[in-house]
Amino acid sequence: MKKLLIAAAVLSLAGCSSSRPASYIEAKDGSGIVSLDKVNVQDFASAADGMLRSLYDSPAFAGAKRSDGSPILMVGRVTNDTGSNFDTSQLVKKMTVSLTRSGKVRVAKAAGFGGAEDQAAAEARASQALVTGESAKPLLPDYTLSGKILENRASAEGVQQASYIFQLSLTEVKTGLAVWEEEKTITKQGSKSSVGF
């Protein structure tokens, strides 16, 4: 009983000393919290980095010619096919930000799969067309970007493993053919200990 009370006291003291002040971390340097049952922010950062490197290295946009500027990309459906709830734009946004900054593509905002991403832009465009009396030109994309995020689980001898598989495809609208595809897998392992009292 005495040992038990000591253990409880140690535990309560340990509880007090375990809190630490909030601090800033860099998502990509591995210091973020790693969860087995969800995709963490550093996983999105890592997957997007790998995807972008692959896309920049590919000749995907080489054949795209457009008189009014760089080709137009429309973001399609990226299905979350995992067991945890998150917004897939955490991956896609990183990609489109980099691509638009590089000038490789322009991203269609006033039209998109299942509705415009920027509703205000779509409405303003329609209003402008109404005022000028000209019908708004349809936003015809040259490429669409779509994909899926999958999850795979395994466990053996007390160790659990979760793999998140990021799949993206860039399709040329004119031909309907995929001009770039990539898959990145992020695998995490962990085990659950038991604490003795």
Binding site: L5, G83, V195, F197
Partner: protein, 467 residues
């Protein structure tokens, strides 16, 4: 810590009884008030089980969005407990242990699977197919987790047994006694003949996963996923021909099923109540043959089937239909209960034996004091010690009866193909007037029905799969 382990007797069962009775009668409005009241007084240890019950009641009371929020909160708690180490008691811990309610209810494997399945049904009911897809994937992972959870509990039970035996060899003797062996099989005969589901799979979850991916398929990969789940579901519920039809379709066609001008309707019926939990108390045999040895009482949980269940028949122009068996929650609960029992036995018996030995030492010391002093005061002290140690060892024994008490007993399902706009009639036992339902303009839907007891009110959830 010692205070936590030996805390006072829980009133969980008493407080949950009223709520369960109104839920069982199908009075969801009242049971919602009671479930919410239970939540306001809930301790952190009971939060998971009370929230599971609240979410069920909210669902049946038509508060789907609230039910979603509660199930999501439970999911967060499961995540928290998944990341928290399990507690393994040392010899001292077991000696001090008498209140299982001091430990948090982390959720059994079947709780986790059913919670995710109901969450998916709720999302589907409000038309959020994206979140339903995620929840159904999670339900499959939860089934894989079930095997791991059972193995972990077995490991901790073995470890605690070793710890208790190391503290006193009498514990092993008590654990292997005929009384304990007999208590371990108490009520087991009530569950003979139930199906045994391979790898802790839950046929409802597996079937729902299959039928969802079949009717909402975004490509051939989804149909393939549906095929695998439907074939698994077929193996789990071989008496249900509707599953087989869909499994064959998924294997051959590679596309969403649709019938011109008609709707594919899955009528799912859940009824009755999962096993009721009670306490079985018995006395351990004397491991010390002496007048000072106290009575050592042990409390084990015991489950009993609740016989009250309903039947559903569906009438439409094509004829009369009855849903065929899909899942037996009795079988699922009984299996996990039996898996948990060795761990429960170790803690309960070892705790009682070690407390009995400590009480014997106290009684023996009081007797020695009485012999030496031979005064009236010493005699009274000896008597008081014996009464106190016996009272403590008898009354401190209690079993953990926390369980998700709103789960059904049985789930059945039938698939119908009905012309759009036709009325179908759903009739349950005891000649209640049938409930009519007009088939909407959709390619496929699930009509999820529930009757909590024989003749109980029939509640209906309409879930459009493919509009």
């Amino acid at each position: 810590m010692a205070m936590v382990l030996t805390g006072c007797v829980s009133n969980y069962t008493e407080s949950a009884r009223t709520f369960q009775s109104s839920y069982g009668a199908g009075n969801y409005a009242n049971s919602l008030i009671e479930a919410e009241a239970l939540m306001t007084h809930a301790s952190a240890e009971d939060e998971v089980v009370l929230k599971l019950q609240l979410a069920s009641v909210q669902r049946e009371a038509g508060k789907i969005k609230e039910s979603i929020a509660t199930f999501e909160a439970v999911e967060d708690l499961f995540g928290h407990y998944d990341a928290t180490p399990e507690i393994s008691l040392s010899g001292e811990g077991i000696a001090a242990f008498s209140n299982p309610y001091a430990f948090p209810y982390r959720g059994r494997a079947y709780d986790r699977i059913m919670a995710t399945t109901y969450r998916a049904l709720n999302y589907l009911e409000v038309g959020d197919q994206e979140k339903a897809r995620i929840a159904l994937n999670r339900a499959l992972f939860r089934q894989e987790d079930a095997k791991r959870m059972v193995a972990e509990k077995e490991r901790i039970a073995r470890e605690e047994m070793r710890n208790a035996e190391a503290k006193d060899w009498n514990v092993a003797q008590a654990t292997r006694s005929a009384e304990v062996t007999s208590a371990m099989s108490e009520g087991a005969a009530d569950f003979v003949g139930l199906p045994i589901y391979q790898d802790y799979m839950n046929p409802l979850s597996v079937w729902l996963h299959g039928v969802f991916f079949l009717h909402t398929a975004q490509g051939i990969e989804d149909v393939e996923k549906a095929r695998k789940s439907l074939e698994r579901a077929q193996a789990l519920a071989p008496q249900n021909p509707s599953i087989q039809e869909d499994a064959v379709w998924a294997a051959k066609s590679g596309s969403r099923p649709a019938v011109d001008g008609k709707c594919i309707v899955y009528v799912v019926h859940e009824t009755g109540t999962s096993p009721s939990w009670g306490e079985f108390k018995f006395n351990l045999p004397l491991i010390i043959f002496d007048n000072n040895a106290p009575i050592m009482t042990v409390a084990f949980p015991k489950i009993s089937p609740v016989p009250n269940r309903d039947n559903l028949s569906i009438r439409c122009q094509a004829g009369n239909f009855n849903p065929a068996p899909l899942a037996s929650m009795d079988a699922i609960v009984a299996r996990e209960f039996n898996d948990e029992l060795p761990g429960v036995r170790t803690r309960a018996v070892a705790s009682a034996a070690l407390k009995g030995i400590a009480a014997y030492v106290a009684n023996k010391a009081a007797e020695e004091n009485n012999r030496r002093n031979n005064s009236q005061g010493a005699g009274l002290l000896y008597l008081a010690t014996i009464i106190a140690t016996n009272t403590y060892t008898i009354h401190s024994a209690q079993a953990d009866l926390r369980n998700w008490a709103t789960l059904p007993k049985n789930i059945s399902m039938v698939k119908l193909i009905v012309p759009i706009s036709e009325q179908i009639y759903l009739q349950n036992d005891l000649a209640r007037p049938p409930v009519s339902f007009t088939i909407p303009n959709a390619k496929s839907l699930i009509l999820y029905c529930k009757t909590p007891a024989k003749g109980g009110p029939l509640s209906l959830h309409k879930i459009i799969l493919n509009p």
